[in-house]
């Protein structure tokens, strides 16, 4: 007798567990990560075999782009508030409450002090489109030294300096930055260079 083949019905999948898992992952990432701070200019970091990781707190990042512009960044909002207030007092920048608050929420920036008020007055999207000229580092207008000094004062001298340079940045710019950090009034001889991990011997 021919065997009657059982009629196949289309398999149905109950998607509930998958959806549950998706929500769980989303919740996990919402609670554990922070948004990556917006960078004004993409920087290609050089590689090294150093495995030491950057300490999380109290760092000031000096970014050197490949066209020689210098940017500064401090993550802690509290330090940024104090920093803006000290800069305002010392250099009579004329910043009001709102501008100081905007400053404390910013990430990396690179404008000379003269342009700071104007820059803070722009809206978020205008700021992104604005072409920042970088902080002046020539010996005539050494604003980098001043910026760093007041940041350190605002952080009660608890700030580590980390230099994040593009691998094709001219050494001359980096040399000037290192020299400014070492000179009075800052006089810092210990700092960190941010690198990515390279496998094997460097090329």
């Amino acid at each position: 007798m021919p065997r009657i083949k059982p009629k196949r019905s289309t398999p149905r999948l109950d998607m509930t567990p998958m959806v549950d898992l998706a929500f769980l992952l989303v919740t996990f990432f919402m609670l554990t990560t922070k948004f990556r701070p917006e960078e004004p200019v993409p920087v290609d970091i050089p590689a090294s075999e150093s495995k030491m990781t950057l300490p999380d707190l109290h760092i000031m990042t000096v970014t050197v782009s490949n066209d020689g512009r210098v940017f500064l960044d401090v993550q802690q909002k509290g330090i940024r508030l104090g920093w803006a207030q000290k800069l305002n007092e010392q250099f009579k920048l004329g910043l009001n409450e709102d501008e100081i608050n905007t400053f404390s929420n910013l990430s990396s920036f690179g404008v000379p002090m003269g342009q700071l008020k104007g820059y803070l007055d722009l809206s978020g999207s205008e700021r992104k489109a604005f072409k920042q000229t970088g902080i002046p580092i020539d010996s005539a207008t050494n604003q980098l030294g001043d910026y760093i000094l007041y940041a350190r004062l605002a952080a009660e001298n608890n700030l580590n300096i980390a230099i994040k340079g593009d691998r094709d940045a001219n050494y001359e710019t980096v040399r000037k930055v290192i020299k400014i950090v070492q000179d009075k009034p800052n006089g810092i001889n210990n700092f960190n260079l941010i690198t990515t991990l390279a496998a094997g011997p460097p090329k």
């Binding site: 398999p11 960190n192 941010i194």
Partner: protein
Amino acid sequence: MSEVSSEGGGGGKHKGGKPKGKKSSTHIDMTPMVDLAFLLLTFFMLTTSFSKPKIMQIIMPEKPKDTTQQKKINQDDVMNLLVGPKDRLFYYVGLHFDQVESTTYGVDGIQKILMDPKYKTNPRFMVLIKATPDSKYKNIVNMFDIMRITDTRLYALVDITDKEKELITKTPETK
């Protein structure tokens, strides 16, 4: 777990009229899969941390307050590394030079030279790293990295002299 039920439940088109055979439907119980997913998730949540950018710690020598206090450096204890543009690298030993040797960043270039026993056994051996203004930042980072790999303890980043700059521009590229 999984089961195959032979009642006519589940999907499948209902073909009216024809005598139907036994319909079987498969229900897969997803519980173990979800358990495993949660287990993996918990494992990773507890064991990993988000990767932070890596750093190289640099400690620069303090600027001497009084130049007459600088210690006398012996001729043989110093190697000068000149970093030039286009990834070029030169070196010479001693305080003065007539010509420089050219080398590469690779393992059999400067690293092999620095691992030479006559430097390794000398406790006063130091390396002075000098770079031209038009060299790239990655070359300097590479040099610091090589210092660490070859376990050279005493090294310093110093300014390049005009004579050295001239020499680098004058030496033709060998490649």
